[in-house]
């Protein structure tokens, strides 16, 4: 915008006559920001500060003077280092299976129908009760003399080792993650405008074509979000790795060395260091997945006006 010399001087003069309050308000700073204060204090004091506190003690090892020794000790010990791989080996399949299992179910359940509340209730049970309760119940159902194996024996299939190993933790994790995915995806599928499917139908698309060409592409950003959240949940597996897994071996996930360092060795510095490593890995995964999601179509799932 071109202004004359006088014009520019006028606006500058006008701007300097505006009180500070108005200038700040234009940029969004006014008294209402005070409403944020309690939240800021809580997050700042109970999350941000401990984060930096943890970071600082991670550089203060119990033994020796090398500030990085907490990290190097962890990364140089193959048993400890492998926990990263083991965590991924558990989390990725759990997330994939949970999304793959829940998606068709959520798709079928996206519209309201008579038993929907009841089904949602049943699916929410594992989610509500949590992994510790699930782990406890799994003992009776999945162990050697448990119901599943009794059932298999009746049908003539040999006994399966479904608990106190990788499978145990896998089952416990999926039992909690699938309902979460079901609820999330049900919301996403339901949010796709019905008239789009109708339009596709009138243009000759069979039910399958409608799903693959219309519903799925429009739901894929939601699916990536769901997968991301599933992965985060699966990464956090802890009690079930101990209770129904093989904490020394197959399910020695990243959370366990943190627990061991803090509870058994009282080495909070080392625990903080491992926690930091875990955080970094998580953030890398999140950044990757969010980038992937942004590449897929991200518009609204409606067909036009109204």
């Amino acid at each position: 915008m071109t202004t004359t010399v006088e014009g520019r001087a006028d606006t500058e003069l006008a701007r300097s006559r505006q009180p500070l309050k108005h200038r700040l308000a234009d940029r969004g700073i006014d008294w209402s920001l005070l409403l944020l204060l309690p939240a800021v204090l809580i997050i700042g004091g109970l999350f941000v500060y401990p984060f930096f506190y943890g970071l600082s003690i991670s550089f203060e090892p119990l033994k020796g003077s090398n500030p990085l020794s907490n990290y190097t000790d962890f990364l140089s010990d193959p048993y400890l280092r492998d926990s990263i791989v083991k965590t991924l080996r558990l989390a990725l399949p759990v997330a994939l299976v949970s999304v793959a299992f829940a998606a068709p179910l959520a798709f079928q359940a996206r519209r309201n129908f008579r038993g929907r509340q009841a089904i949602t209730l049943v699916f929410m049970l594992p989610l509500t009760f949590g992994s510790i309760l699930i782990a406890q119940g799994m003992i009776r159902v999945f162990s050697d003399g448990g119901w599943i194996n009794l059932l298999l024996q009746m049908v003539g299939i040999p006994k399966q080792q479904l608990i106190y190993n990788y499978a145990g933790t896998f089952i416990a994790a999926t039992m909690v993650t699938i309902p979460f995915m079901f609820l999330l995806l049900m919301g996403f599928f339901g949010g796709i405008d019905r008239s789009l499917e109708h339009a596709a139908g009138t243009l000759g698309a069979s039910k399958a074509a409608r799903f693959w060409r219309i519903t799925l592409p429009l739901a894929s950003p939601g699916m990536v979000t769901a997968f991301t959240l599933a992965l985060v949940e699966a990464f956090a597996v802890f009690p079930s790795a101990i209770l129904v897994g093989q904490p020394d071996n197959a399910t020695h996930v990243l959370t366990l060395p943190i627990y061991a360092a803090a509870s058994q060795h009282s080495d909070y510095g080392s625990a903080a260091a491992i926690a930091m490593i875990m955080t970094v890995i998580e953030l890398i995964i999140l950044v990757v997945l969010v980038t992937v999601r942004n590449r897929i179509y991200r518009g609204p799932a409606t067909g036009g006006k109204g």
Binding site: L35, A39, L46, P50, G130, L133, F238
Partner: protein, 291 residues
């Protein structure tokens, strides 16, 4: 005006059953079957705990040999469950109240206002629920101990606030966005002060969101393990921590006793679930929560 064929056609019956069956596809049958299996499994896993809690002992087989209810009395008196129940109640109420008091106003500001640093704030605020609690539980506990709060009830309340507050904010924001700013403008034009605007207009409109957030917070605190585990001691444990302790006790707590302990937790969680369903649709709350 009515053609002769019309009157004949009007008398035809409807082909009902065949038509309805043709709308069912193979994939939907498989899907529903799989869903049914999952539902059965969930009920089996959770139901087995209930059954175990009433068994004298249950070595093997489909069903326990005999039933008793003595485990419940023992659980109540000897295992510290009653103390944990009280603690859990106190912590939940405190966390929900504080999280709502801090989170709803924050959610309002985030929904309505733009300010420098907003995106950064939102990102930091979301981290506690994106990252696994284990990544910050230990540092938080260490800090609590350093300030002399280790093992105390306030410590348990404070640590549970960390994932609860972002949850409240995340749920409040879409609810606030749903209220058109014009409604607030109208109230102001007609003379409502900020306080009256809040109590007479915003709060009633936000009530379902506040209730949903409160309930979800409650469930979160109930199931929260890692955070509470590292800062609590025997007198300030919540239910899940006590149960975990019994389950991983090398001394071998009898299975039915642990099951009875768990049943206390289960009943409370069930009550919470029923309340959730009475007041809101969790699918909506969750789908609004995830971006």
């Amino acid at each position: 005006m009515i053609s002769p064929s019309l009157s004949a056609r009007r008398a035809l019956p409807r082909p009902s059953l065949v038509r309805r069956l043709s709308r069912v596809t193979v994939t939907s049958v498989i899907t529903w079957f799989a869903g049914g299996c999952f539902g059965l499994l969930a009920i089996a896993v959770l139901g087995s705990v209930a059954i175990t809690s009433f068994a004298t002992n249950w070595r093997a087989g489909w069903w326990p040999a005999a039933f008793t209810s003595r485990w419940y009395g023992q659980a109540w008196n000897a295992t510290g469950i009653s103390q944990s129940l009280l603690v859990t109640f106190q912590v939940s109420v405190a966390v929900v109240l504080i999280a709502l008091a801090a989170g709803v106003p924050a959610g309002y500001v985030l929904a309505r206002k733009k300010f420098p640093g907003k995106s950064a704030f939102m990102l930091v605020m979301l981290l506690p629920i994106i990252l696994p609690t284990m990544t910050y539980a230990v540092q938080l506990a260490a800090m609590m101990y350093r300030f002399g709060l280790g093992g105390s009830l306030p410590a348990v309340i404070l640590v549970n606030l960390v994932p609860a507050l972002p949850l409240v904010i995340l749920i409040t924001v879409p609810f606030v966005e749903q209220i058109s700013p014009e409604v607030e403008n109208a109230a102001k034009v007609f003379g409502a002060s900020s306080l009256r605007l809040f109590t007479r207009v915003l709060l009633p409109l936000l009530a379902p969101g506040v209730v949903a957030a409160g309930i979800l917070c409650l469930m979160r605190v109930l199931g929260q393990f890692e955070l509470t585990f590292f800062v609590s001691n025997a007198r300030t444990q919540t239910l899940v921590v006590t149960i975990f302790g019994a389950l991983s006790d090398p001394g071998g707590v009898p299975e039915p006793l642990v099951a009875a302990m768990t049943m206390f937790y289960m009943i409370i969680a069930l009550i919470g679930l029923v309340i959730t369903f009475r007041f809101s649709n969790p699918a909506d709350a969750l789908s609004r929560r995830a971006r």
